[in-house]
Amino acid sequence: MVDNRPSEDPADMVVLPCNGLDKEAGSASRELALLLEERGASIVCSVLYQRSPKRYEKELGAGKLVVIDGCKTGCASKLAAERGLKISRKLAVTEEAKARGVKAGKKPRLGVALRNLLPALAEEILAIEPPEAPAAPGKPDSFAGSVTFREFSVDKFVFRVPESGYFFNENDCWARVEGTRSRVGVSDYVQQSASDMIFFEPPEIGTEVSIFDEVGSLETTKTALDIISPVSGKVVAVNREVVEAPELINQDPYERGWTAEIELTDFEGDRELLMDSPAYFDYLKQKAEREHKELYGG
């Protein structure tokens, strides 16, 4: 979701590291947190946080939370989950190290190989962290209005379509227009029939698209598909949250799972070729009943 805060300072980042001293990965998490702190993030000490959670109330309320687990025991993320903290990003040092060909050791002292990985890892976290620019200057998130849905079911599958406010093409992609901009994404039908999303390749910011052009692509555990733009215009933002966690499309295809934001050039023209929410509901109902066997394909 687009961030509501005016500033995009790395000072918005709050880091909760594992802090553990029983293995090398624990020491590495602590070191990584310190590197991030040098760049302006604030650290929550997990030990102190457990004794006096109030101490960090302010930081945790204001910033984006990055949780660094040492190993897969995941103490830091478990702690965050127990306290109901909203995690913006989490990573496990053993995993990250492994992906880079380094095996974290059993002794707690931080070795050279793992230490050398940390600066790049810190940069990576910082690079991904800044949220997208707000939807429109001065209007932080104009797409935040609540959405209500209509449902229909085909056997045990329940499909949802927004009651109003969305436009659809026959490629099951939607547009939600606010002012001169539109967010786009894929419908509930796509996420259910294509199965679990594993990869979202966003379009490049600045790309000019015409209606029915590709505007990013998705890969799922079953298949690969293009997102076919329901509108014409210029890509002004992509949903970084979905790049990081494509499963958001499965969880919430119409709101948090938006994929790109487009500055519209001819919505009146585009609209002629789109269905509104009720029309798409009827269209999809027929289509789902016709094609539902595909859903059972595994």
């Binding site: 004794r51 679990d196 990869f199």
Partner: protein, 143 residues
């Protein structure tokens, strides 16, 4: 109760090939890689609250493998009062190995079997880690 074990519990969902991958990875670990210490149990028994099975997940280390984002294995373990030490999602592995898509529920195919091997290797390592730990990392205590 039996000796301390690490229980690997896949979701075994019947609708997705990724669930079959989880099931096969479980077998690979408990039969080939770490037969002495790892075992599985029927998730169904947990779902319906079988006492002996509930005891097992509460008293031992547990690793779950999920076939989809609904996280059935983890949620069923948690509903039984347990807490998985590690929870895997097959699709997280697919994110890293995009070419290894399993074919179908009944036959995951060559690629699917490669994915099984990768997951099983990881879990075997994790079992070693878990069995070396005495009661978890407890970095801050009092959790």
């Amino acid at each position: 109760m039996d000796n301390k074990k690490v229980y690997i519990i896949p979701c075994s969902g019947i609708g997705k090939a990724t669930a079959s991958v989880g099931r096969d990875a479980t077998y690979k670990v408990i039969e080939d890689k770490r037969p002495e210490i790892a075992d599985t149990l029927c998730l169904s028994l947990l779902t319906m609250g079988d006492e002996e099975t509930v005891e097992r997940v509460r008293g031992n280390k547990v690793i779950t493998i999920e076939g989809c984002a609904k996280d059935c294995a983890r949620k069923n373990v948690e509903a039984s009062g347990g807490s998985p030490d590690i929870s895997h999602r097959v699709h997280d592995y697919l994110k890293k190995h995009r070419d290894l898509k399993p074919e179908s529920v009944l036959d995951i195919g060559e690629e699917g079997r490669k994915l099984v091997k990768i997951i099983a290797d990881d879990i075997a390592d994790e079992i070693d880690e878990l069995s070396n730990e005495s009661g978890g990392c407890d970095c801050g205590g009092g959790m």
